[in-house]
Amino acid sequence: MITLEDVKKIANLAKISLTSEEEKRHTETISVVLDYMQILNEVDTEKVEPTFEVNDLKNVWRNDEIKKCSFNQELVKQFPEKYAGMLVVPGVFENSTEE
């Protein structure tokens, strides 16, 4: 079960604004999905280790080197808003409605 308040809280954490209708709909549909997940409680996992990846991967290291990027100008072109080759974003603190 998930409550409307939970949905509002996680939507805020996930940075997605939802209409009140969407909040209601997600509360209903996610509750159904989470109820279905209860099926996992049938399984005894007391002595089972979790599997986070399937191929027994090892960390692959490389040297932390500065390399020339051939397409940095292309990336700058993709910025939604820019000034003198720099990325423009709204102020993090200024005019912020957050606490």
Partner: protein, 507 residues
């Protein structure tokens, strides 16, 4: 296919009409190009003409790269002329829109990337283009791969070529349709929990989910990183084998790729299955051992026609002298729940990069940074993407992590060990790809759990990292394609393709 099919006489007629070239298989087309019976430009034009004729009804493509395809075809014709051709040179192919293609818009079917043109190429695409492949366009899909019907695309649903009222399946619906409807010869797609196999089965084509780590995922927009794989879709098993040979291999840019050697898949696919046999338990047995996983056939609501069709495939194996054994993978029924905890969890973090800051669509008239994120993401994602992010955020949050995420990863261990055990006894597992054929557009859209359950036969292999192939093995009375799923041991793609060829061999 009779040998006379590619006779000069036949091809002359075909060339005269210049409208059926797109219906060749990749192998036939490559042969025709090599023998200079037609050019890559002609082949590409035939595919483009088919797209123009059919895409308005089917909606398989989001972006059609016509001018560029023709330019690439001209280059391919030069390669052929200079004797530098590979089997893929001059052959038109499509790429799922969630895979980055340099200088061609890649939206992943979400409006947040409506204006996004990558500056780099996914490794798998780069490999194919180096081999002379002609990229004809980017295919529609459920946004970022979230879905099983292709109805979660912000560019409209894809329709099934066998019945326009039915879904194409998803998430790689556009790729499946582009191949099924002869708009190109093969497609490069992505499978997290069934996104290649399920639309392949709904549209009557082959779709391969390779072993986790077989192909590079560099440049593939991630959904659930511990499950995502890139694979091909094509009209024959042989064609699939050719494409896989060019795609597969390790990549410095993707540390999760495995170093295992790339087999000559096309040569393996050529072999008779009776000559195969014996790979289970280190070659102890002399014949091919086919496992029937009983849990897959006990799933509630499984379509009787599909069941019958798959049982008929099992008879074919028997006739060929294969050993058939019933096996059990007892944790099968938990795979869906594991999948829909693990996937949204990884998803919610992968989707965090899409925020309207450095690329993609940023909402205008925004007062604060927080509002910029919230509104860009609200308008740029379809409902299902939002739902998955919310589920993931929830199950990973304090107090729920142990109960959901860690529990799911423990059950995942049990699912994986089911497969490990069973592949000591059998060479392949056979099951339906989907419990039902293509369903009506809109039928499951408002009920996410029902939509998730469409993956019931697909998620176990994905969760455990095993390869699986969907083989088109027939039609329902209503005329909808049926897919048979063959699951193999890790890195046994060659055997899967060999079996796929055997099951579709014309008597």
């Amino acid at each position: 296919m009779p040998a006379c099919w590619l006779s000069p006489e036949f091809l002359k007629i075909q060339r005269k009409n210049n409208m059926e070239l797109h219906k060749l298989t990749l192998k036939q087309a490559a042969e025709g190009l090599r023998k200079k019976q037609f050019t890559s430009v002609e082949l590409t034009q035939a595919c483009l003409a088919q797209i123009k004729k059919r895409n308005k009804d089917l909606n398989a493509f989001i972006t059609i790269s016509e001018d560029r395809a023709i330019a690439e075809a001209k280059l391919a014709d030069e390669m052929i002329e200079n004797g530098q051709a590979t089997e893929l040179t001059g052959i038109p192919f499509s790429v799922k829109d969630s895979i980055a293609t340099a200088d061609i818009r890649s939206t992943a079917a979400a409006k947040i990337l409506d204006n996004y043109t990558p500056v780099f190429e996914a490794t798998v695409v780069e490999k194919i283009r180096k081999a002379g492949g002609v990229l004809i366009g980017k295919t529609n899909c459920d946004a970022f791969g979230h879905g099983a019907s292709n109805e979660n695309s912000m560019y409209g649903a894809v329709r099934n070529p066998y019945n326009l009222k039915k879904v194409s399946g998803g998430s790689s619906g556009g790729s499946a349709v582009s191949v099924a409807d002869h708009m190109c010869f093969y497609s490069i797609a992505e499978d997290t929990g069934g996104s290649i196999r399920q639309p392949a089965s709904f549209c009557g084509v082959f779709g391969l989910r390779p072993t986790y780590g077989r192909n590079s995922r560099y440049g593939v927009m991630p959904m659930a990183s511990s499950l995502d794989v890139v694979g091909p879709m094509a009209r024959t098993a042989e064609d699939l084998a050719i494409v896989l040979k060019y795609m597969a291999g390790t990549d410095k840019k993707d540390a999760t790729t495995t170093v295992a050697t790339v087999d000559n898949y096309d040569l393996i696919a050529e072999k008779e299955i009776s000559a195969q046999g014996g790979s289970a338990s280190g070659g102890k047995k002399s014949k091919l051992v086919v496992g029937i996983p009983k849990e897959y056939f006990e799933i509630e609501g499984i379509n009787e026609e599909i069941k019958k069709n798959v049982l008929y495939q099992i008879e074919k194996f028997k006739e060929q002298g294969a050993e058939i054994v019933e096996v059990s993978l007892p944790h099968t029924k938990y795979a869906m729940a594991v999948y829909y905890i693990v996937v949204p969890s990884e998803d919610s973090s992968n989707m965090a990069r899409l925020d309207g800051i450095r690329y993609g669509v940023r909402e205008k008239k925004i007062k604060s940074l927080s509002e910029l994120y919230e509104v860009s993401r609200a308008n740029g994602f379809p409902e299902e993407v939002k739902r998955r992010i919310l589920i993931g955020t929830y199950v990973l949050s304090a107090g729920y992590y142990e109960a959901y995420y860690k529990k799911a990863q423990k059950v995942r261990t049990l699912i994986k060990s089911d497969f490990e055990k069973v592949f000591k006894e059998v060479d392949i597992l056979i099951a339906p790809t989907s419990p039902f054929p293509a369903f009506e557009l809109g039928e499951k859209k408002s009920d996410p759990l029902q939509m998730y359950l469409a993956d019931v036969m697909l998620s176990p292999a994905a969760v455990a990292g095993y390869p699986a192939l969907s083989v088109p093995t027939g039609f329902t009375a209503e005329g909808l394609p049926i897919g048979t799923q063959i699951i193999g041991d890790k890195m046994k793609e060659g055997l899967l393709l060999q079996v796929g060829k055997f099951l579709t061999k014309k008597d």
